[in-house]
């Protein structure tokens, strides 16, 4: 189906993303801006604060089924996780363990730990990871959505891969250390962060989908993210028992061996046997997905 008017996920803020993701007018925010939960650690440095500390959490329905939703505000401090921001996300997963929604949807847009409160942020992400894993163990699926300007990096890059499935747009990026950090420490020859095409070939949605890190690749369109989330809700939740983790261990080992010399997404696409790797960045989601279909990369492939 072609859409005459697209609403960009990339350009939207967290509340607009949620509004377009779930059933109309179904979202009820928890600890919203009226509660004025602002970071005292930013205030003490005379830095701007936000009434939601850069993350929106709450309850909604999707296709009439109850879901919990969290969405990070990339525009506030790069979506970085501080004490309150992290506690809100952790609280969302603790709530899920009690209310047992059909899923938790996590719209990630974050560079990771907020350096101004670095220790609190690191611990908060650790608590978020444990709460997410606990909700998962209780049988509640967790789905991640990545398509914002900050992508998912640092601790939030790890959190993203704890999700049962990930939806990404080409614009979304996923990794651990950002290109700027690698360039600063290791030099421009290791990673030229100004080479935007290279950055996307190493961290972007198409590369992540090709490796199986992302479950679905969609266009930068809020309705496309919504459709993807709806289809995930209809899927069985994958197991995470010893046998499943053994299988992931084998797949990740094979990936490292197969791509032992790769330094660019082009190397990966070539090794996967995709025709004309250099043209892949130009394709829209539908054409890319058609190209990839014969490979059907699965989780951790």
């Amino acid at each position: 189906m072609s859409r005459l008017q697209r609403h960009s996920w990339f350009e939207a803020d967290a509340r607009a993303r949620i509004a377009g993701l779930v059933d109309a007018n179904s979202f009820r925010e928890l600890c919203g801006p009226h509660e004025r939960l602002t970071s005292p650690h930013l205030a003490v440095l005379d830095l701007p604060v936000a009434f939601d500390d850069g993350v929106v959490v709450g309850e909604a329905t999707l296709d009439g089924r109850p879901v919990l939703v969290g969405a990070q505000q990339g525009e506030f401090n790069g979506g970085a996780v501080g004490e309150i921001h992290g506690a809100k996300l952790r609280g969302l997963f603790e709530r899920a363990r009690r209310t047992r929604p059909a899923a938790v949807l996590l719209a990630i847009d974050s560079g990771g730990v907020r350096l101004h409160e670095a220790n609190a942020g690191l611990i908060a992400i650790s608590e978020l990871m444990r709460a997410l894993l606990a909700a998962r163990a209780d049988g509640i699926p967790v789905y991640g959505l990545i398509g914002g300007s900050c992508g998912a990096f640092g601790g939030m890059g790890i959190v993203a891969r704890l999700c049962d499935a990930l939806v990404m747009s080409e614009e979304g990026r996923l990794g651990l250390s950002g290109p700027e950090v690698i360039e600063t420490v290791k030099g421009v020859d290791e990673f030229d962060s100004k080479d935007r095409a290279l950055v996307w070939r190493v961290t972007g949605g198409k590369l992540r989908r090709s490796l199986g890190d992302a479950t679905m690749l969609v266009d930068d369109d809020i309705a496309a993210f919504r459709d993807a989330a709806r289809s995930l809700l209809a899927r069985p939740v994958p197991a995470r028992d010893l046998a499943a983790l053994d299988a992931d261990q084998r797949a990740l080992t094979q990936r490292a061996a197969r791509h032992a010399d790769a330094r660019d997404g082009l190397d990966i696409w070539r090794a996967l046997g995709l025709p004309e790797p250099a043209l892949i960045p130009m394709l829209d989601a539908a054409d890319f997905n058609r190209l990839l279909a014969p490979l059907s990369p699965t989780e951790a492939a």
């Binding site: 506690a87 603790e94 611990i123 608590e127 790890i158 891969r161 704890l162 290109p179 261990q249 790769a262």
Partner: protein, 240 residues
């Protein structure tokens, strides 16, 4: 590292080294334990993450057969994740997430998880492994951080003198195992004169249950907001 292991496990251990990885078994005051970790402030790569995950999966499998999940002692010594385009391309974050899932599986399979920080524990390398244990202890001189204060000053564009001054009163951003202890993420700071086998036994005895770090951070006064904010969103008291 051998001196550390000898002091921790005076009655014997069979810990083997594989590059920066280590794994094996030891006799502790709390019985036989698995020992898994890294040494020499390793920069964690996909290869090292796979070895750590494999060791955890092997421990779970071994004890599943016997029906007696033994404690796992993690030794954390890491300067953080390896900074490399190749590692990023492979999806180092996903290898770390897999490691975290394996640690979580071990917890759910009944293993008590204790981390000992030796040397240094930094950022991503610590987050997906040692920091996920039930009980975390820092050995003397252990350093814990996200980033150096000077690098932090550069990135945040805040004068280093100002950060130094603030660090005297606030535990939230400056490096230091004592700061992490005040915030509830390190349960005990071991001193050189402590009886380590006894301290380890206590840590193993106390390990387990729900994540109570936010509660501990509030009790110790270093992290007062995490617990009440999470509880407001959860709608229930945590750890109940």
């Amino acid at each position: 590292m051998n001196a550390l292991l000898d002091r921790l496990f005076p009655t014997g251990h069979t810990v083997a080294f594989d590059g920066h990885n280590l794994s094996g078994h030891a006799a502790s005051a709390a019985g036989r334990v698995h020992v898994i970790g890294t040494r020499d402030r390793a920069a964690l790569t996909t290869d090292m993450a796979l070895k750590l995950s494999q060791a955890v999966l092997d421990a779970v499998r071994a004890d599943q057969a016997s029906g007696d999940p033994r404690p796992i002692v993690f030794i954390a010594s890491t300067q953080g994740q390896a900074l490399s385009r190749h590692e990023e391309l492979l999806g180092l974050n996903g290898y770390f997430a897999h490691m975290a899932r394996c640690v979580d599986l071990a917890r759910r399979s009944g293993h008590r998880l204790v981390t000992l920080i030796h040397g240094e524990a930094v950022s991503g390398g610590f987050l997906a492994f040692g920091l996920l244990a039930d009980r975390i202890c820092a050995l003397p001189e252990a350093q814990v951080k996200v980033m150096d204060l000077r690098a932090m000053a550069r990135v945040t564009k805040i004068a280093p003198e100002r950060l130094e001054a603030l660090a005297q009163t606030s535990p939230v951003f400056a490096p230091g195992a004592d700061n992490y202890a005040r915030m509830g993420a390190i349960h005990a700071l071991w001193s050189d004169t402590d009886d380590w086998p006894q301290a380890l036994r206590q840590a193993i005895d106390e390990a387990g249950g729900e994540d109570r770090r936010a509660e501990l951070g509030r009790e110790r006064g270093g992290r007062t907001l995490a617990q009440p904010v999470a509880e407001r969103v959860a709608g229930v008291p945590l750890g109940a």
